[in-house]
Structure formats: C-alpha cells, structure tokens
Amino acid sequence: MSLPHLFRFPGGIQPDAHKKESSEQPIRPVPLPARLAVPLVQSSQGSARTIVTVGDKVLKGQCIGEAEGNAGTAIHAPTSGRVTEIGRYPMAHPSGLDTLAIVIEPDGEERWIAREPLDMASASHEELILRVQASGIVGMGGAAFPSHIKANSKIDTLIINGAECEPWISCDDRLMRERSADIVTGARILRRLTGARRVLIGIEDNKPEAITAMKLVVQAAADDGGEISVITVPTRYPTGGQKQLIRVLTGFEIASNQRSSSFGVQCFNVGTAHAVCRALVHGEAMVSRVVTVTGNVEHPGNYEVLLGTAVADLIELCVAKPGTERTLMGGPLMGFTLPRLDAPITKSSNCIIAASNTLFPPAPPEQPCIRCGSCAQSCPTGLLPFELYWSSRAKNYDGAVHYNISECIECGCCAYVCPAHIPLVDYFRFAKSEIRARNQEKRAADQARARFEARSARLERDKAEKAARLTAKAAETRAALAANKDAATDANDAALIAAAVARTQAQSQAQPPASGQNGGATPPEPSI
C-alpha cells in the first residue's frame, strides 16, 4: 500500500492531548440508573412522535418514538421497564431549556425485544436504509445528522472519521481498539449503501493502538476486493471536523454552503459505523453509546452509557474530586458548560468533563484586541476573527456578515491562541444568533407585508365592486322609472328621484338593520 498523499487545511492548533487519562481503561458498563429520560428530539433534522403512553411496559430496544417525516429518526427504550412519565425535562444544550422526554423506570431485567438481524445478502437498498432510520441512527460525532439521509446518496469516497482531534476525549479511540471488527463491518455496509469506490478511515497519529487494531481487521478481510484503507493523519485540531478531514484525505475543500456529497464524498464517525453494524447485523437499535468521563474525577474512563442517563449519575459513578467547579459536555474546545446536571446523555454526547479551576483555569480578564493576527493564522476556515470580533463587539452585524461570520465553525482555535484572552467564540455565537433572529424577523416582516398588501388590495376591490354594483342598480332603477312614467315627468325630476332611491338603497346596504332582538351581531359577509 503506497503512502497516500495528504492535504493541509489552513490554521489549526496543537493543544495538549490529555487522552491518556481516560484511554487506558477498557470500556466499562454503567449500573442501571433509577430512571432514564429519553428526549424525543435526538437528531438535528427532526424529532420523533411518541407511540407509548404512561404506564406501558417496554422492552430494551423497543421503539418508543416513531420517526416523524423523512428526516426524523426513531428513539428506543434504552432498557426494559415502565414508562412513568412523558414530560418536560432539561436537554443537553447550553440554554438549559426543557424538552419533551419519555421517562422510563428500569425493571432491572434488561430484557431485549426480539432482535431481527437483516440478511445482508438478500436485503434491498431500501430495506437497509429504512432499517437505519428505524434504528434511530444519527451522526455520533456531535452533529447528530440523521445517518439514513447521508447513507442514501451515491458517492465515490466514503470517509470514516476516527480522527478524534479534541483533547481529553477518547471514546472513539477506545471503540476502535475494542470493536474494530464491528466498525469495519459498519463501514462496509455504508460503502454498499453509498456505492463508494473506496473507503478511507482517517485516524490521528496520536492513537497508535487504534491504528494497529483497525489495520489488523482491514487486512484480515482484504479479500472483498474493496479498497478500505486506514490512513494515519497528523494530529492537529480540528482535523476531526468533517470538512477538515475531507480536505486532509481527499483534498476537496467544501464551502459552508456546499454539501460533501456533491463532491462525491461522505463522512461518518466511527461510532456511527459501529452503530450501523449493530443495527443491521445484530438487529440492535441505538440505545446506548460510549461516553468519555474525564477531568477532575477519581475514575476517568470510557463507559457504555444508556441514552437518557442523567449526567449527574455518571459524575456520581466516577466520583468528582473536590474542586470541581463545572461540568462540560463535549470537549474543552467546542463543548459547553452544562447549565443543569440532570440533563441526559443523548446520541451525540461523546464526553463529560468535570472541570476544576486547576485543570481548566477560568479565562484571564479580556484585554483589548491588538490585531496581532494569531487568530487569523489559526482559523481553519481562513476567516479574520479579529475583524469579526471588531464588528460583533460593536454589534455591527452587517460588518460581521461582510467578514463571513456564517462560515465560522466555532472550533475555538482563535480564542485558544488569543494573547488578549478575548472570548472570541462567545462574541461570534452572540452575533450569529442575533443575525439569525434578525433574518427571521425580516422574513416575518416580508410575509406580513405581502399579506397586508393582499388584504388591502382585496378590500379595495370589494369597495370598487360594491360601488359598481350600486351604479348599475341606480342606472337600472332610472331606466325603469323612465319607462313607467313615460315622458310625463321632467327628465330632471326622474334623475333626482333615481338618485334618492339609489341613496336609500346604498344606505340600507351599507348598514345592516340594527337587529338587537336577534341577539349577536349578524356578519355582513363571510370572510376568507
């Protein structure tokens, strides 16, 4: 196998990896918690519709929420037990807002629903895609994009993302070391679904054990004629970003408004490939995932966590050391501080970090930007963060748009290197959400304008029509009068009478008789 030519993306940083803290222990199971709150929304594109009611007995892996629409993904009971509540629970989101969740009280038996593996040889493409959707598989790298949509496109190159570039996180590393066979099987299924010519598995060079394990499996099964290769990529954050990894492995640069499939490339996380294998080959829906729990805890490591387990339960299991100030979900570069610890683990939560002030010192006070340009050098999308900052800070949103704020992937490289300790990403997130809100307002205003104008036009038309009707009637009356009275009366008189009649009629038509005894107002005419 010849060494593949690798490409570079602009910028990037190389922070301390801190992987060893959690990566040296095998993946361990978590004791059943007292309750599991499974949110209905677990994918970035759609939600699920409840198909159970409170009091129902459910089995592990039983569908409890159907996919809503094409883009929705199903959710399943993470264990056997009873549905005790369908109510609002906090979600794993920086806002700490509530969302609808199905609460299950485990019965402790962990009884699986009958598992129905698909016969890979005979199953059709549609069957496979449907199964991916029905098994609730979404991207496990963090974006939670429904996998059945991505798998249903025809491409040339399939990329399996095992880069895992964020410091501290090691769940993909562990998964590749321990379950490499499943991952490769999943990759092969995805390859069949997408019709890809080659499969590239990209792994950062700071995970030699994972690389060895994956290479072993790939070489052992190299007889299927498929070109599956494990490629070692240099460790540089954010190589694990989908578009960055595609750039490194294939050289394609995909802009923010483009889709990778239009370049013939599609990228799946190793966790997703693993889940695809479990769902299709073993008939197990997505009910758990591997989560790294690390930081300021006594027992850091990787755990097989049932979806819906509260973060607090995990922290309790791993025993937070004194000095833990906050808890992060995700890595230290892109993760967020959890506003509430009763938030559940979802399909996209890959890491929980107990943060102490010694491990993660609070940012020093912000100093003025000196436009040193370090941020621009580290930006993987080639933006000028100092200009974005200048505009965002002054709430000059047009300026921020001019400097392409929408291209920002919020990777945090700029804030990591900033010598003035400016929370740049905070400013960009603020500006982005303000811009989004303004765009929504603008759209609403345009819609309202159109509707108002349509209504005004209709009222005008109605008025005109009414006036026309009245004129016609007046003319008619005048003609009738003239015919009746012959030429006996003066033409002048006839006109006067006609006008008077028309006036009375107009009045009676404009004002409906005030019929108080009818009770309730009589509408003049139906409205649309």
């Binding site: 979600m91 989101h93 920086p94 806002s95 807002l97 006070p365 912000e366 003025p368 800070r393 002054a394 709430k395 929370p423 905070d426 400013y427 997130r429 603020f430 982005k432 959400s433 303000e434 809100a437 929504q440 307002e441 609403a444 205003a445 345009d446 819609q447 309202a448 304008r449 509707r451 108002f452 104008e453 349509a454 209504r455 005004s456 309730g520 107002a521 009589t522 509408p523 139906p526 409205s527 649309i528």
Partner: protein, 175 residues
C-alpha cells in the same frame, strides 16, 4: 453677466421640463425597514402608509413602537435625519402572538375584520383560530372582541430561537 445668468436660467428651465421624472422610491426603502406588524400604533393605518408619510416628511421617524430605537436608528441613517429616541414607553421586545380561547369564542368575525394580515380564520358562528406563524402580535384584534376571548402569549423559547448573551467582559461595553 446678466446675459450668462439668463442663458443658464433658460437652459435649466428647459431641462427641468424636458427631463422630468416621476416616482419616489424612498417610501419603498422606508417600508422595507419597518417591522410590518401593521399595528397602526404610529397613527397611520399600516406600515406602508407610515412609510409614505415619512418619505414625504409628514411624519417623524420615531413613531414606530415595534421598531423601537433600533428601527429609528435605521431610518435616521437611511434618511440622513437626526436620530430621535422612540417617544413612547420602551417595550421589551418579546415576540407575542394572539391566541383565541376557543371555549369562549362566539364566532362573531369581528376580529377577522380587524386583523391586518388575515391571520385569523373562521366563519360566522364558527369558532375562530389564529394562524400563529403569520400573526404579527399587533393587538388590533383585542378591542373588537365582544367577549374578550383573545389573549397575547409569548412565543415559547426553543433552542432554535434561543440567543447567546453578549459576552460579559471586564471592559466597558461599547454602545
């Protein structure tokens, strides 16, 4: 000198007649900046009439309540006029939509006639309902309702409309 002046005067006068152009695109530009709630709180029967009044100089730029100070700033910039803060009480900008209590509604259609954007559907003696995504929260349907069955509710907060705060910093905020 007089000759020059006369000659130029004639040329200008001729040009003024010959090159006359109609139309005022300013009103449209102003209209584009208004929030289109059609709430008539400015004293004009809708956003467009207000825009025309501003364009012709008949109205001040600070009369739009939903637009608030930010809207007045934008108008001031467009028209090159001096910014004036919005006169009325400063309302917190929370998007609200009307909600008809369907138990109380008697189906009188009065609110349907009042709604400037046709966001209420229903027929006589039939229960009415508000199409929430279209409702601008202008409150014009409230006074005509004989049974007071319409209330305004704040739009629920979701991750989609949740906003990040302006970063808290040691520095003074630049206005």
């Amino acid at each position: 000198m007089i000759g020059i002046t006369l000659a130029l005067g004639i040329a200008l006068g001729y040009a003024a007649i010959h090159f006359k152009v109609e139309g005022n695109p300013l009103a449209a530009q102003i209209d584009a900046l208004l929030p289109q709630t059609q709430c008539a709180q400015c004293g004009y029967p809708g956003c467009k009439p207000y825009a025309e009044a501003v364009a012709s100089g008949a109205a001040e730029i600070n009369l739009c309540t939903p637009g608030g100070d930010e809207g007045a700033h934008k108008l001031a910039e467009l028209l090159g006029r001096e910014f004036k803060p919005h006169g009325g009480p400063v309302v917190e900008k929370v998007k609200v939509v009307a909600l008809i209590d369907e138990q109380t509604c008697i189906g009188c259609t009065l609110c349907i006639q009042a709604c400037p954007v046709d966001a209420i559907v229903g027929a006589a003696k039939q229960m009415h309902t508000v199409i929430a995504p279209i409702c601008t929260g202008c409150e014009l349907c409230l006074p005509p309702c004989p049974v007071d069955c319409i209330s305004l509710i704040a739009e629920p907060r979701t991750p989609q409309n949740w906003r990040w705060k302006y970063p808290v910093t040691g520095l003074k905020v630049v206005a």
